[in-house]
Every structure is written in structure tokens, then in C-alpha cells.
């Protein structure tokens, strides 16, 4: 029954904290987080040893009852989520806006995210996602800045529209199968004689999950929500690092459930590539450091979807390992960006100079995270990118596509790293709790790369060897890409007017809805032709 506690405990502690108005509320919450993290580790070990754990509430008949299932990947993500929330609370220990209401919403969000990773039922998922949407919208506009109110409102309404598609899709699934359980539906799949009946529910579900995970035409809500000026940096970090991964996780599960009849991995391969490319083009054109990071999340999600749909076992594991890695270094980057914005009082990358001189500790952490995200050898991003690349060996085009994506990442982070250099006299003093949290996250980025192959072998029960020759190969490719990136940024970037026009693009609400309908009808049309 410990699975239920992973969802309930954060909410119970949040309520307790809200009711007991104590002075040292933060301490209580950190202790609560430690307990929850302990349970998450315990559940991961149980799942690792004895296979998937199933917990059923209500009747023992699994068809009707609400049940939670923790499989290998789900329990791993729950552990990741609990770890990140613990880090966030340690990091923000001293902030004055961490009042009861904020902590309440934040911890409830943790319970909901854990629920998304553990849920085994379509309707439970609907309820969890809907409540999580509301919670996130309130967290985005927590400081009640006028800009963030607009961002929160657009976030809320677009996601609500997506969830109506989800609910309609569930209705069709129930009509066809009479069940809403993932496993039951998967086991009933062979009974379906005509796969065309599944097209409509599948398209409806993919549209909503595509919006949640920010696939190509549906990502326009994400940068605004994740990079909104006044949202607390821990909220941005959790949203970009973890919450989007909920959408990706559901995408993995839906593809797994429907793959018997509808195998759409080829479309997702193309869409993943386009998402990655458009993501880094947008990231390059921005000047706001939070928006650069937010668009970068889109690009990395494209890379992950690309890896997942490659159809090779290696790239599949690589993509899942990359989800974890991305959660770690992207949240690190958002936290450091938050400190930099606070210190410099600006978000414009052209005005921030001399971070290295002014706050060396933050700068070192930032460099480690950038090394991770660009896939420098010996950092965790390189291991996952190496595994994704290993899956491309059967096709040169795919390998080339991957190099293009990584080159884009490197160029945009060359731009991001320009703020490190320059002169500055003053020294900024980093607080101890922030030092601990950032140091832990950065060291995981490094350890995850150094012992990456052991981690992958441990998590997926594999025997993957990364030879010194491939490390050397990777180092050469990385150095060449880095040189091209620096040269491109130095000599070409400022001459291209295209990026200025890209920066101005911002879709209105109606246009975002239009893009949802466009995606839906396009995908439906493709499915009608292909199946």
C-alpha cells in the first residue's frame, strides 16, 4: 500500500503545514520531503527486486477498482520527482515568499506528479492532469505580476482545451473496450478486428498529450509558462525539469498501449526532429535568459521523442536516461538563472556580464550544467546522447539529424555562456542551503556521466559497454561542434536578421487553439491514409 502514500503524503503534509501556522514551517517541509524521498527509494528497490508492484483501492476486482502500478520506469521517475522536490525546498529554504499557501500548492503538485507517474487508469489520469493544470497555473502567477497573470491564464485555458480532447478520447475508448485500465486495454487490443476504429480515440489522446509534452506545433504555451518573468525560479525548474516529463511519460505509455495496431513511431521521429530544430532556433533568437532555457526545453523534448521513436533498444534507453539527465541539468540551469536575475536585476543576456568574477560558485555550477546539456564527454548528457546515437547506426540520415540537433544545442549555449565573461568587482555571497542544493545537483550531472554506463546497466538490466575509442570519437565530434558553434556565434549570428523576426513571434490564444486543431486534423488525416 506504500504506493498510495507517495501521492497522499505530500498532500497530507501540505495540509498540515497549512493548518499548523508554525514559524519554522520550512524545516517541517524538508523533513516531510526526506520521508517521502525515503518511501520513493524503498518503492524503487522493491520494484527493482520483485518486479512491478500493484496497489488496489476498493474492490479487489482490478477492472473496476482504482489501482496504481509502479513499473521500472514509473518508480524511477517517482524517485526523480521526490529528489527534485527535496532539492527545491532546500534551495528555497530562506525565501520570504515561501509562505503556507505557496508550500501547500507546491507540495500538492508533487503528489499530483507522483500520481501521474503511478496511475494506471485513463480517468484517474484525466483528474490528476486537470488538477495539476490548475495548481501549476496558480503557481505561475503566484507573485501576481501582470505579465505572469496573462501567462498563467493562457497556460490554464490551452491546457483545459487539451484536456477536453483527452476526455472525449477516453469516452471513445470506453465505448470500444468497456474498460479504462491501461493493462486491460492493452490485453484486449488483439480482440479489435478493425484498427480503424481506434484512430479517432488515439488521435484525440495524442493531441492532448502532444500539447502536454510540447510537440512541434503545440509548444507555444510552454516558453511563456516556464519562462514567465516573475514566476519563482523553483517553479520554473520543476515545470521545465519534471512536469513536462509527465507528458512524455504518458506519450511512452500510450504508444506502448496502442502499438499493437497503430505504430506511429515514424511520424514521431519526424516530429521529434522538427521540434528539436525549431526549439533551438527559437532559443537562439531570444535575449531573455529564462526564455532561452524554456525554448531549450522544447528542443530537448524533441531530441527525447526522436530517441524514443527510433525503434532501437539503445536509443530507447538513451532517451529515458536523457529524460532523467535533462530533469537534473535543466533544473540546475533554471535555479542559477534565478540567482543571476535576482543579482543583476535584469533578464537581458546582453546586459549580464562577468558572472564568473561576480559569483564564481554559481558560474562553476552553471558551466557543469551547460557541459551536461551540450553532451560534453564525461558529463551525463554525453552518455544519453551516445546511447541515442548508437541506435542510429543503421541510417546515416538519422545520425546526421542527431549531429544537427546537438550542434544547435551547442550554438545556443555558446550564446548563453557569453554572460560568464567580462569584468566585475563585487562578490556575491551564496547562501549555504543554495550551495548544498546546487552542489548536489551539479555533482549528479558529473557522476551520472562518469559512471553513466554503470547506471544505465543497473537501471535497465543491460550490459552496455562504452569503449575508450568511442569516448575519443565523441570528444573529437564535440570539439569540432564546439568550434563551429563558437565561430558561428562570433561571425555569422549577428548578421542574420532572421533571428530578430523570430523573436517577435508570439501566438495569441486563438492562434494557439488554431494550432491544436491544425495538429488534430493533420494527424487524423495522416492516420486515415496510413491505416
Amino acid at each position: 500500500m506504500f504506493l498510495f502514500w507517495l501521492i497522499l503524503l505530500p498532500i497530507v503534509f501540505a495540509l498540515l503545514g497549512y493548518l499548523i501556522q508554525r514559524k519554522n514551517l520550512q524545516l517541517l517541509m524538508v523533513i516531510a520531503q526526506l520521508i517521502i524521498f525515503g518511501i520513493a527509494v524503498y518503492s524503487y528497490i522493491m520494484v527493482y527486486r520483485y518486479g512491478a508492484v500493484r496497489a488496489t483501492l476498493g474492490y479487489d476486482n482490478s477492472f473496476i477498482a482504482i489501482s496504481l502500478v509502479a513499473d521500472q520506469i514509473g518508480s524511477l521517475f517517482v524517485m526523480l520527482s521526490c529528489f527534485l522536490f527535496l532539492m527545491m525546498l532546500i534551495y528555497n529554504y530562506h525565501k520570504h515568499y515561501m509562505n503556507q499557501l505557496f508550500l501547500f500548492l507546491f507540495m500538492v503538485l508533487q503528489g499530483l506528479i507522483n500520481g501521474i507517474f503511478l496511475s494506471n487508469d485513463f480517468f484517474d489520469l484525466y483528474a490528476l492532469l486537470e488538477v495539476a493544470t490548475v495548481t501549476v497555473a496558480v503557481l505561475i502567477m503566484f507573485k501576481k505580476d501582470s505579465q505572469s497573470i496573462y501567462d498563467g491564464m493562457v497556460y490554464l485555458l490551452t491546457n483545459l482545451v487539451a484536456m477536453t480532447f483527452f476526455l472525449l478520447g477516453i469516452g471513445y475508448l470506453y465505448k470500444i473496450f468497456g474498460h479504462l485500465d491501461f493493462e486491460t486495454i492493452k490485453s484486449l487490443m488483439p480482440e479489435i478486428k478493425n484498427p480503424r476504429t481506434l484512430i479517432l480515440p488515439y488521435t484525440l489522446l495524442i493531441t492532448s498529450i502532444g500539447l502536454k509534452s510540447a510537440i512541434m506545433p503545440l509548444f507555444s504555451w510552454l516558453p511563456r509558462a516556464h519562462g514567465t518573468p516573475s514566476a519563482p525560479s523553483i517553479v520554473s525548474a520543476i515545470l521545465s525539469g519534471l512536469y513536462v516529463k509527465g507528458g512524455l511519460y504518458l506519450l511512452i505509455r500510450f504508444q506502448d498501449t496502442f502499438s499493437y495496431h497503430l505504430d506511429t513511431s515514424k511520424v514521431f521521429l519526424v516530429m521529434g526532429f522538427l521540434t528539436a530544430v525549431i526549439g533551438f532556433i527559437f532559443a537562439l533568437s531570444q535575449t531573455d535568459i529564462k526564455l532561452i532555457l524554456a525554448y531549450h526545453t522544447v528542443s530537448q523534448i524533441g531530441l527525447i521523442i526522436f530517441g524514443l521513436s527510433m525503434g532501437s533498444e539503445y536509443s530507447y534507453y538513451g532517451a529515458i536516461y536523457h529524460i532523467i539527465n535533462h530533469a537534473i541539468f535543466k533544473s540546475t540551469l533554471f535555479l542559477t538563472a534565478g540567482i543571476i536575475i535576482e543579482e543583476y536585476q535584469t533578464r537581458d543576456i546582453r546586459q549580464i556580464r562577468g558572472v564568473f568574477k561576480r559569483m564564481p560558485y554559481i558560474a562553476v555550477i552553471m558551466i557543469i550544467a551547460i557541459m551536461g546539456i551540450t553532451g560534453a564527454p564525461l558529463f551525463n548528457g554525453s552518455v544519453s546522447k551516445y546511447l541515442i546515437q548508437k541506435g542510429t547506426t543503421y541510417s546515416n540520415t538519422l545520425e546526421f539529424a542527431l549531429i544537427v540537433i546537438n550542434l544547435g544545442t551547442i550554438i545556443s549555449f555558446v550564446k548563453y555562456a557569453t554572460m560568464l565573461f567580462g569584468d566585475h568587482e563585487e562578490r556575491y555571497k551564496v547562501r549555504l542551503n543554495q550551495k548544498i542544493a546546487l552542489g548536489l545537483l551539479a555533482s549528479i550531472t558529473f557522476i551520472g556521466g562518469l559512471f553513466g554506463q554503470h547506471f544505465v546497466n543497473f537501471i535497465f538490466h543491460q550490459h552496455i559497454q562504452i569503449t575508450p575509442v568511442s569516448w575519443l570519437n565523441k570528444t573529437i565530434v564535440y570539439t569540432i561542434s564546439l568550434t563551429i558553434g563558437i565561430l558561428f556565434y562570433k561571425y555569422l549570428y549577428k548578421k542574420i536578421r532572421f533571428f530578430h523576426t523570430m523573436r517577435e513571434i508570439e501566438l495569441t490564444f486563438n492562434e494557439i487553439i488554431y494550432s491544436i486543431i491544425f495538429f488534430f486534423s493533420g494527424f487524423l488525416g495522416y492516420m486515415m491514409i496510413a491505416f
Binding site: E130, I149, L157
Partner: protein, 134 residues
Amino acid sequence: MGLLSSFIDLSYLKVGDPLDFISGENIGLVLFFIGIYGLLARRNIIKTVISLGIIQSAIILFFLTINYEPNRLPPLGDVTTATSVDPIPQALMITAIVIGVAVTAVSLTMFISLYHHYGTTNWLKVINKRRDDT
């Protein structure tokens, strides 16, 4: 449909009855797309929230009628599963109604504070004023 057939004798219509098209399921779908049209074409934020409400009711109608069969009892009290309608969609829809109410309330509350900041109900005007701010 029951009301209509009691006024006009439609018993001579066989399979492929055009009025069969007017089922809760299809009306639900039509309403769903009316709501989508409202979201696409209306720039008024209040109308956006209303369109979402229409979509929610459409989905509720859709769910309640997907497994409908004539002459079944409501799943209340002592009825066996053989004679009652499928209770699961109804149970799900109660939850969906509760969520829908909460969500509408949250969006309207947010709209009020947006209105206090920008003084308009139009999406385009809000985005233009927002650009001027930065």
C-alpha cells in the same frame, strides 16, 4: 426521439433511419465542435470560458449516452446489472462535473484579476498592452 415518434408515426422507418442520427452521442459531438468554433473565432475571454463550458456539457452528454440501451433502469438502489444502465460513465461524469465547476471558477477568478490589470476582455488587446509593458 421518443417525444418525436409519439407525435408522428415513424414505425415504418426501417434500419438506416435518418432520425437515428439524432442520438445523444452525435449531438454531443456537434456541441463539442460548436465549442471549438467558439474558442477559435471569439476573441472575448468570457466567451472563451463559455465555450469551454459548452464543450464540457457536450462531453457529459456524450459519455452518458455512449452505452445507452432502451428500457434500462437508472443504477440506483436494488437493481441488478442486467437491468440497469452502465453505472461507470455516470460515476465518471459526476467527477467531471465537479472538476468542470472548479475549473470554470478558477478561470473566471483569473480573468477578474487579468481584467483589473489590463481593463479589457479582448485577447488581442491584452497581448498588445502586454507588449507595450515590456
